[in-house]
């Protein structure tokens, strides 16, 4: 047999048949945000969960109003309020187990508080006496991230590391609609999908990136649709419906924990306050738009269901209100005390071991503080020098 007679000899192999690597259909989000409250499905909602969510939402709203008040009193340098978005914040905290990790943005202090963090520790960054007011490893809450979306790859890396170690840990990463335009959002979702990392991305689409509306941010059908491009499921949920957000988040966390990989969730909500106390929202939106959302308030939605079940009598309302007021009073009292500052802290923990250059600079500051103390008869402006 000659070479030419051999089967397939000198015949170019056909290119491999091309096919989709993943069926996109199961990854697609619903056409409308998933809702439970106000629908037939609400009747099925667990009573204990409803009562828990209600109490947490009322506390969360009170936390937001108290923190906003503290900025007006000069006790906080700035506060990006999550008023109107409490359902997302509370559901994020409740969806996680103790060993899981939360990766909040600067607007998500409420999620950290709902997870059990002391509000004073959560607000340290915004008071300005230090950057992170808590030990992230103790609480499994990453430092509040100010640069947008940069915390998302951290969540992916942590979840990946936990999986490599065989630990049963899920990371939940929070970001806003504006953050989805950042490169780190893209890279985080891509790494998460390639590695099948146990991570859940929660996008709170609150309508605005400071002043810029979503239409100027993206041309995607929805932010949840972006998931399909990465090969992960996208879920669209009503972000003011605490039961729905809790259900969708819990499902995604369970899926991640069981090895099913990451999920992108877009929670449609609305930022009722300006971006921060330093912002003027009247320059870019009408009051009528804000008012229209008041009828879809996350607390109102839960209360309607509780009312329908006859679970919201005056005693219950009072108990919930008093609980929230006690939290606010404690926060107010503690935030009204000046934090203890030690300027020499500036040089600690820049490196594990201080460099000779930093030792010299620390000595310079110490001498300045001592001179200041002497001039003021021993009472230094920022407390005693070490």
């Amino acid at each position: 047999m000659t070479v030419m007679e051999q089967r397939d000899a000198y015949r170019p192999a056909p290119p491999p048949a091309w096919q989709l690597r993943t069926d996109p259909a199961p990854l697609l989000p619903d056409a409308e945000p998933y809702r439970v409250l106000g629908t037939e499905a609400a009747r099925e909602a667990d009573q204990e969960l409803l009562l828990r969510l209600h109490g947490e939402l009322v506390r969360g709203r009170r936390y937001n109003t108290q923190a906003t008040a503290l900025t007006k009193q000069g006790r906080l340098a700035v506060y990006p309020s999550s008023t109107g978005q409490e359902a997302c914040e509370i559901a994020a905290a409740l969806a996680l187990r103790e060993r899981d990790w939360l990766f909040p943005s600067y607007r998500d202090t409420l999620a950290a508080v709902a997870r059990g963090l002391d509000p004073v520790a959560a607000l340290t960054l915004l008071r300005g006496d230090w950057h992170t007011g808590y030990d992230p490893r103790e609480h499994r809450i990453a430092p509040l991230s100010t640069p947008l979306a940069t915390q998302l790859p951290h969540a992916v890396g942590l979840a990946h590391a936990a999986r490599l170690k065989g630990d049963d840990v899920v990371a939940l990463a929070m970001v806003g609609d504006g953050g989805t335009s950042e490169g780190d959002f893209h890279e985080a979702l891509n790494f998460a999908a390639v590695w099948q990392a146990p991570v859940v991305f929660l996008v709170q689409n609150n309508g605005f990136a400071i002043s810029v509306p979503l239409a100027k941010q993206t041309a995607a059908p929805s932010l949840a649709h972006k998931a399909v491009g990465y090969g992960m499921p996208g879920r669209l949920v009503d972000g003011n419906d605490a039961v729905a957000v809790h259900e969708v988040l819990s499902e995604a966390v369970r899926r991640a924990r069981e090895g099913g990989g990451p999920t992108l969730i877009e929670a449609v909500t609305y930022r009722m306050e300006a971006h921060t106390n330093a912002d003027d929202a009247t320059r870019y939106r009408h009051d009528a738009e804000v008012e229209a959302w008041r009828d879809h308030d996350p607390i109102l939605l839960v209360e309607r269901e509780l009312d329908a079940r006859g679970l919201l009598d005056e005693d219950r309302r009072r108990a919930v209100r008093e609980d929230a007021e006690a939290m606010a009073a404690d926060l107010r009292e503690r935030m009204n005390q000046d934090p203890a500052l030690d300027p020499m802290d500036l040089f600690t923990q820049v490196y594990a071991e201080q460099t000779s250059q930093l030792r010299e600079q620390a000595a310079q500051l110490r001498a300045e503080l001592e001179a200041e103390n002497d001039a003021e008869g021993g009472a230094g402006r920022d407390g005693a020098a070490r």
Partner: protein, 334 residues
Amino acid sequence: MTTVAVKPATMGQALGRALRDAMADDPAVHVLGEDVGTLGGVFRVTDGLAKEFGDDRCTDTPLAEAGILGTAVGMAMYGLRPVVEMQFDAFAYPAFEQLISHVSRMRNRTRGGMPMPITIRVPYGGGIGGVEHHSDSSEAYYMATPGLHVVTPATVADAYGLLRASIASDDPVVFLEPKRLYWSKADWNPDAPQSVEPIGKAVVRRAGRSATLLTYGPSVPVCLEAAEAARAEGWDLEVVDLRSLVPFDDETVTASVRRTGRAVVVHESGGFGGPGGEIAARVTERCFHHLEAPVLRVAGFDIPYPPPMLERHHLPGVDRILDAVARLQWEAES
């Protein structure tokens, strides 16, 4: 009695050996980057690691530098000790935000609660005929960022010792690997115990009495060559290899310049806003009364890195170094 086999090894091989030994010693050490797995890296530094330790320890990542460093941050948060490879100096720029906003300051912002023991390996510098975006000297950007260590070896032995020390460090280290020294060879025994020196110590590579050449990385061999050539002019030059730009070893540098009374800083990086300005200022502040002449700089020109057919005019060479030495006001001595 057994004799230890000492044979020529390249800097690239020493770096690879350092990674291998670090991974064998500590299961928390993970290598990740572009092409570091099956291929062994474009410079083959990670050759064999994926095979020996598996894909989970030496991972080919998606092609995205911010994602590589950003996920390394999360891995470090969970207690791992990532070593990331940036394929080329100029390809590291997408990771800048992660480096500057998170890696460098995570320890400080968490009061030590979350240290970042990450080593970022960056092949840097020119002289290998690389086309655009393959030859940058980006050390000044890193030096200007508090919280980072910036380390660069110039010898085969240091490549091993400094990389081991960098991986062992509880702080982030930008480990700059001089590309044109990857193939430099020295007698080096990979099987003998290797010293792991703490980072932050400069070393006198050549003792001399006339003037000090302060340099690092790819410019060290050039300065040693210049020092040999200078003998014909009657100059006995000392060459200090800084090895670490952060922390900066003021002690060794100051002692040398006080001894010789003259100093020239030599590096490939541009002069304006480059490391040489900081080094010259530090030397002047500490050695003013010992100096016979102003501290001079021999640096790359303040231009975008040139195309390969013109790069030899840009890089500091022996003649340019000797010209600077000649300008150190020798006439004042007579």
